[in-house]
């Protein structure tokens, strides 16, 4: 009896899901996804710029200590908010991937148009990181777990680790040693010296200076662990934004209407 009731209820919901609406067709869906891309891309870009901008802009800032500590925290906030919104509203595990893809377009347009063509810095110096692999994996985790708590705890670790792996492989060529002005430096350091940044003197770099106590002689493991911890906090900041600054006001309005 109970199962029959469940089946009837499911059938009603299914009918409602596949119902054709006269005035809400696929054009609305396209317009929504397309226009939201600008807002989401801008929100993610601004958050990244404010908290972790320099680490994302320059190869000589992408270090072993601070890059992995600051950037995962800064960049998980908006994907987390979008995860909540899109799961709550449509049961679509697309929030993090959508944010990362919009951010990809926003950052690359900015780097190419502004930094390469307007002020003439080479792309291999000012290339943006990619968050898409990390976004896909935490969206997949949300789909499988259906739990924001599990996604925050395990997902933050996946986010940090995947972000590191998918961007470190692009950074690897620039960590090759070379001799420049009589000193042994990385190719990234040489880029920073060679391509002059008038108002970003070298001492301003917040990078590893060798004083971090390390685990297995590698500061990045400590940084990854700490970055993961911070990213859990960042995830819940995003959840707060998604729940109380986005979904709750809209649902309240819809109820009134």
């Amino acid at each position: 009896m109970a199962q029959a009731a469940i089946d009837i209820r499911a059938g009603e919901l299914r009918q409602q899901l596949f119902r054709k609406y006269r005035f809400i067709d696929r054009k609305w869906d396209f317009m929504f996804w397309f226009t939201a891309a600008f807002v989401v891309g801008a929100a993610a870009d601004i958050t990244r710029l404010l908290f972790a901008g320099d680490w994302d802009f320059w190869t000589d800032w992408k270090d072993r200590q601070w890059w992995m500590t600051i950037t995962p925290f800064a960049t998980i906030i908006i994907p987390s908010a979008l995860q909540y919104i899109q799961w709550r509203a449509w049961r679509m595990p697309t929030g993090a991937t959508y944010t990362a893809t919009c951010l990809f377009v926003a950052t690359w347009v900015g780097r190419v148009v502004q930094w390469k063509y307007f002020v003439n810095y080479p792309i291999n110096f000012v290339w943006p990181a990619t968050w898409i692999p990390a976004g896909i994996l935490i969206d997949f985790l949300l789909l499988q777990s259906r739990s924001f708590i599990i996604t925050s705890v395990i997902g933050a670790g996946i986010w940090t680790l995947t972000f590191w792996a998918s961007n470190y492989l692009m950074l690897a060529p620039f960590l090759q040693p070379t001799t420049f002005i009589g000193h042994t430096l990385t190719v990234a350091d040489v880029q920073g010296i060679t391509y002059i940044r008038a108002q970003t003197p070298e001492y301003i770099r917040v990078i590893e200076r060798g004083s971090l106590r390390t685990f297995l002689q590698e500061p990045q493991y400590v940084a990854l662990a700490f970055g993961t911890t911070l990213a859990v906090g960042g995830y819940w900041i995003g959840q707060f934004i998604g729940r109380y600054l986005a979904v709750w006001p809209i649902l309240r309005y819809l109820k009134q209407v």
């Binding site: 899901l17 869906d29 992408k62 960590l175 070379t178 350091d189």
Partner: protein, 410 residues
């Protein structure tokens, strides 16, 4: 409505034309925007020379000169105690590449440890990179103070056949072009991830409507989707997403492994700061100080009263006054070069050994006003700089001087 729209459009067009006519090319670096006390009291530059002002892409030019962190360093900058400096170039973008940098004869790739009163001979070699006419200044950036700009000039970079490339040799013997090294990996891998992201979004948005799902999801608990019976998320969706997620994980793992083997011997970014050798100061031949600096807006003259004591063994002459990136030359000692200005020093003539002379120095106020260096009405009203004193043998002293600025009217 139409009339209002047309008027708005016309107004916008007029404003646009007015801005376009009124705007000038932004080619300098906003030197005047920096507070006058910072420019005068922090760093003095002298003997700044550009080896060339016309180069081709790939050709070098060297900027040499001397910079001193003055004893009058403001106590509200760097806590009154500058300790880390970076000699750099101010230019509009990456139009040149910096190839070499020496401070007091030592190679200085990155920042240096500096101090108040320190004097630094610098030499920076640039290579022309982008064709165009570029305004270039040497500058000193000081931690917790900012960048203080020295005298600059415009440099023409002409196009070279073959364009610009910048080969560097790695420690493993490989020679790479810094302009494009690693670019294929960055662009290629980034595009691959973008394709995966698009695939994920297409799987979820192409095959089903979005907005109307809200009517159904509103009726379900947050951690439920109703399964295949409802159809919000189907087994096909699980399969497709597992494929994309799996492909993503494999791509990252394989690419990371390949990259780790392709680029072995990696080291972290370096912090290689040096303490440069001490500046070889010339023998002391004079002590100088200012007792007053009076600005008269009616005559547009800045009058400074200096006391100069000859502590050397031969007669000395006041040859110049330098402040910020300006040089005022005593014409009785030498003629001003291009970019320099003239001052008058009364009495003219030399100061004998052991004598102390009071000299009245008159400077053209129009230059100070143009460069916004007269801090009338600001919180720190003072004038500072270095007096250049030279003896018959060519020995020069650069004595730091400072006096409170007294305007005759505000």
């Amino acid at each position: 409505m139409k009339r209002r729209f047309a008027l708005s459009l016309l107004g916008s067009l007029v404003a646009l034309v007015a801005v376009a006519i009124g705007s000038t090319t932004a080619s300098a670096h906003g030197e005047r925007a920096q507070e006058s006390f910072i420019r005068m009291e922090s760093v003095a530059f002298w003997d700044v020379k550009f080896s060339s002002t016309n180069v081709k892409q790939g050709e070098d030019l060297t900027i040499t000169g001397t910079a001193k962190l003055l004893e009058t360093w403001p106590n509200n900058l760097s806590g009154g105690n500058p300790s880390v400096c970076y000699f750099t170039i101010v230019e509009p973008g990456a139009q040149f590449v910096l190839k070499d940098r020496m401070i007091n004869g030592a190679e200085a790739p990155q920042s240096i440890f500096c101090h108040k009163g320190g004097t630094y001979d610098f030499s920076m070699t640039l290579t022309g990179r982008s064709p165009g006419n570029w305004h270039v200044h040497p500058a000193v950036a000081v931690e917790q103070a900012g960048t203080i700009i020295g005298p600059g000039t415009s440099v023409q970079v002409n196009e070279a056949a073959g364009g610009f490339s910048y080969p560097i040799k790695l420690l493993n013997g490989q020679t790479v072009d810094l302009e494009s090294y690693g670019q294929w990996l960055i662009v290629g891998f980034s595009l691959l991830t973008f394709v995966l992201g698009l695939a994920w979004m297409i799987v979820w948005t192409w095959t089903r409507p979005t907005i109307t799902r809200l009517a159904v999801t509103n009726q379900l608990p947050l951690n439920q989707d109703g399964g295949d019976a409802v159809g919000l998320i189907t087994r096909q969706d699980h399969r497709n997403t597992a494929i994309i997620a799996g492909a993503t994980a494999v791509l990252v793992i394989v690419a990371f492994t390949i990259s780790a083997f392709a680029f072995p011997g990696r080291i972290p970014q370096q912090t290689d700061w040096i303490t440069p050798p001490n500046f070889e100061a010339p023998a002391s031949i004079a002590d100088a100080s200012l007792s007053s600096a009076i600005w008269d807006p009616s005559t547009q003259v800045l009058t400074m009263t200096a006391q100069i004591k000859n502590t050397g063994k031969s007669p000395v002459t006041l040859t110049a006054f330098r402040t910020a990136y300006l040089t005022f030359v005593n014409p009785t000692a030498r003629s001003p070069e291009s970019g320099e200005y003239q001052m008058t020093a009364t009495p003219a003539g030399t100061i004998d050994p052991g004598q102390t002379q009071t000299i009245e120095i008159k400077l053209p106020g129009s230059v100070f006003q143009q460069e916004e260096l007269l801090p009338v009405g600001k919180a720190q009203m003072a004038v500072a700089g270095v007096l250049e004193i030279t003896d018959a043998g060519g020995t020069r002293n650069m004595d730091t001087v400072e006096a409170s600025l007294t305007p005759t009217a505000t």
